[in-house]
Amino acid sequence: MALMISLLFAAAVFAQDGTPTDDEVNKIAKDLYCPVCESTPLDVCPTDACRQWRELIRKQLAEGKSEEEIKQYFVTQYGARVLSEPPNRWASYLVPVAAFLLGAFMLFRGFRMWIKPMAVESASGEDEAAPIPQDDYIRRMEEELKKRK
């Protein structure tokens, strides 16, 4: 019993001694992904590799490093793919934005070409068989046809 009490006391002292808690570790770990288990965030990943990473975060927090410093360390060691959000590089947005604009442009052009020629009706619109002004070629063709009648 005395041993248990002393152990509990020791644990409490250890926690108050500045050892980062699991919550503090997981606050950083949730934004990181180990390349070995790419689809599982570090804070919930059960593998040995991820457990080691969490312990490393705890050690670095205990050394007084900030969240940004710790994340930067992981990027340097294991590459930018460990981050849940990729670094904000303009080039990474260029291709999707350009592809979207290109697609929009092609759709716009396509729709315009599919639309039937629009007729601008005259104000009266009474006579449906009203003569239509035509270009010179059609006018000459019609004249030729009249002559043959």
Partner: protein, 192 residues
């Protein structure tokens, strides 16, 4: 009298230069996607492939001839054995002792260099592992996983044997089962 109706033609051809840019861009996108898919389906780099140069930083205490980093091109003329491992990798433990014994056998000849590339690991745990198995050959971290990405490793352990001309000759996926297995490959390469 009736008034005339005007027809306004709306079809207008897309300028040729726009069409060219659109199709070139789309073709480029398709090529990028195809390359990505192709790369994803590829296995490790294959024997016969000339290995590109890389630099491996070395853990303190695991330097090569006093240097804190090692460049593959500096080892031209020697057989190079590159072993990918990690402290969290249980199969790696099966071959660790054999690799060390092989290193002890070939190190005095000066014709073979072993390089341990520590994959996605933490240095404190890596050091514990190296000490546990008494490993003495040059070892270092795979910073930003650049080397493992180049070799397209699928896991650890994997071992690559590079000949004196810098050409990959053998790939061992998974742990070695015996010292003899390692010796057979190296002796064959030394005899060439």
């Amino acid at each position: 009298m009736t008034e005339s109706t005007n027809i306004t033609p709306v079809r207008k051809g897309v300028p040729l230069w726009v069409q060219v840019i659109v199709w070139v861009f789309l073709a480029g996108l398709l090529v990028i996607v195809a390359m990505g898919l192709n790369r994803a389906q590829q296995g490790t780099i294959q024997p016969g492939h000339a290995v590109d140069d890389f630099t491996l930083p070395l853990f303190k205490g695991y330097e090569y001839q006093g240097a804190s980093e090692i460049k593959l091109s500096d080892l031209r003329g020697k057989v190079v054995v590159i072993n990918f491992w990690a402290s969290w990798c249980k199969p790696c433990e099966q071959e660790a002792a054999e690799l060390q014994r092989a290193w002890e056998q070939y190190e005095p000849t000066g014709e073979v260099v072993f390089l341990g590339v520590d994959y996605v690991d933490t240095e404190p745990d890596a050091r514990v592992y190296l000490k546990k198995f008494g490993i003495t050959f040059p070892n270092g971290p795979d910073l930003a996983t650049r080397i493992s990405q180049y070799f397209r490793i699928k896991g650890v352990p994997e071992t690559y044997f590079i000949d004196r001309n810098g050409v990959l000759q053998y790939v061992q996926v998974g742990p070695f089962t015996s010292l003899q297995q390692i010796q057979n490959i190296i002796d064959l390469m030394l005899a060439e």
